[in-house]
């Protein structure tokens, strides 16, 4: 289990082992959707905003 820092909130994001570039994970602290842009060491960036329909 590796870790990386969330670019949004500074929290620690736990990452599984067979991480692949392009995967999307969410930050446990702030919930931001983060894209894996590098794997060794793992680097995360904010995932491109999916302008999701969210309610009203």
């Amino acid at each position: 289990m590796t870790e990386a820092e969330c670019v949004e909130c500074g929290g620690t994001v736990a990452l599984h082992d067979d991480l692949e570039i392009g995967e999307i994970v969410d930050c446990e602290t702030c919930g931001a959707e983060l894209e894996v842009v590098d794997v060794s060491p793992p680097v995360l960036d904010r995932a491109p905003e999916l302008e999701e329909d969210w309610g009203e």
Binding site: D53, G55, E56
Partner: protein, 373 residues
């Protein structure tokens, strides 16, 4: 029936003749109306209002999904209406066309709409803002900006004169409508000025999302929420800025009701006012308004505006309270988002534009008791 036959069968809209004439001389002849987007929530309410309106005949109701099905298939309260959905591709010629489609659809079809009807009332945001640039800032641009200058904002309480004779009418946003009705008396009377800080905290029902649905609006997820769905930056800010000249701090919450929008506006006038000043301002603004009820204090269970008290109606309840501690004015308003915030406002504006009785077709008073309508 061919295009020709259809336009001939319409006695009033031929040659862009002024439809108001038809009514003026006797009142027996009815105007024809069509609703584009009639399977939607606002569209369904338009159909209900128009079929019950003394001066309108509902000629056409479009839906792509429910083409050829009866109106009652989508709207159980319209089971008694003898009309079937038709395709928006085949617009009939009518006196008034109401477009109740998602943002972006009307601007694409506006030429066809105006072709089909002398008066077009659009319920989307497509013609609410005056400047194409505003659409770049707040929406995804505009494809028919040449019509913007023709359009009149519908909310009659903001000024009904400019609506008279209007042929392209832009019905206001529901949250903007609720907010502006709460604040207008404060602006008109000078209690608040563009520099004063105003927070508008809204609570709205699930029908604002339209008939479409989605995970967040499924019953198990949407029930019981107090969900900040637009914590900042709601698009209706643009209309409010344009119509009231105020730049607000706007936050919108989804709460557990189907219909209704309630605005709580916290305003901080630079000069102290009294409750008497406020009553003066609100009465001045609304004493002659047929669809605004002032509700501020008093006794009983219902002392301030509440959306359930106006559910199903075109009424707005408006009220206020003065915070003696810090001079804050709390202005409240409550509307039915699908009615005063959409279909009712649209019909109201059409009544004004066409010189009809202003309240025609909008006489439902609402229910008591009523749960969470």
């Amino acid at each position: 029936m061919s295009e020709d036959e259809r336009s001939e069968s319409s006695t009033t809209s031929g040659e862009r003749s002024d439809p108001r004439v038809a009514v003026a001389d006797g009142g027996t002849e009815q105007l024809t109306a069509s609703v584009v987007g009639a399977s939607g929530f606002a569209g369904g309410e338009l159909c209900r209002l128009l079929t019950g309106h003394p001066d309108f005949e509902l000629a056409q109701a479009t839906s792509r999904e429910y083409e050829n099905k009866t109106l009652g298939y989508a709207h159980p309260n319209l089971r008694g209406v003898d009309l079937r959905f038709s395709s928006p591709e085949d617009l009939e010629s009518v006196d008034v066309l109401f477009a109740s489609t998602p943002h972006g659809v009307s601007m694409e079809h506006i030429d066809a709409f105006r072709d089909a009807a002398g008066t077009v009332v659009d319920l989307s945001a497509d013609f609410r803002l005056n400047e194409a640039a505003d659409y770049d800032e707040w929406y995804d641009g505009h494809v028919a900006p040449e019509h913007l200058a023709d359009a009149t904002y519908a909310l009659p309480e903001l000024g009904r004169e400019k609506l008279e004779g209007a042929d392209l009418i832009a019905s206001g946003g529901c949250n903007a409508t609720a907010t502006m009705l709460a604040l207008k008396p404060l602006v008109d009377s000078g209690v608040i000025t563009p520099d004063d800080r105003v927070v508008a905290d809204l609570k709205v029902g699930s029908s604002e999302g339209g008939a479409g649905g989605g995970a967040a609006s499924s019953h198990p997820e949407r029930s019981g929420v107090v969900r900040p769905y637009a914590p900042t930056g709601h698009r209706h800010e643009a209309e409010i800025q344009q119509e009231l000249g105020l730049s607000l701090s706007f936050t919108v919450h989804a709460v557990d009701m189907t219909r209704g929008a309630a605005a709580t506006c916290h305003a901080f006038p630079s000069e102290r006012v009294t409750t008497g000043d406020l009553w003066g301002a609100y009465r001045e603004a609304y004493d002659d308004e047929p669809f605004v009820r002032l509700v501020a204090g008093g006794g009983g269970v219902y002392r301030y505006p509440e959306p359930k008290a106006v559910a199903g109606t075109n009424y707005a309840e408006v009220g206020f309270e003065l915070d003696p501690e810090n001079g804050r004015v709390v202005a409240f308003s409550a509307i039915d988002n699908v009615m005063k915030g959409a279909a009712g406002q649209a019909v109201h504006a059409a009544n004004v534009a066409l010189g009809l009785e202003e309240t025609a077709g909008l006489d439902f008073q609402g229910l008591h008791p009523v749960g969470s309508p």
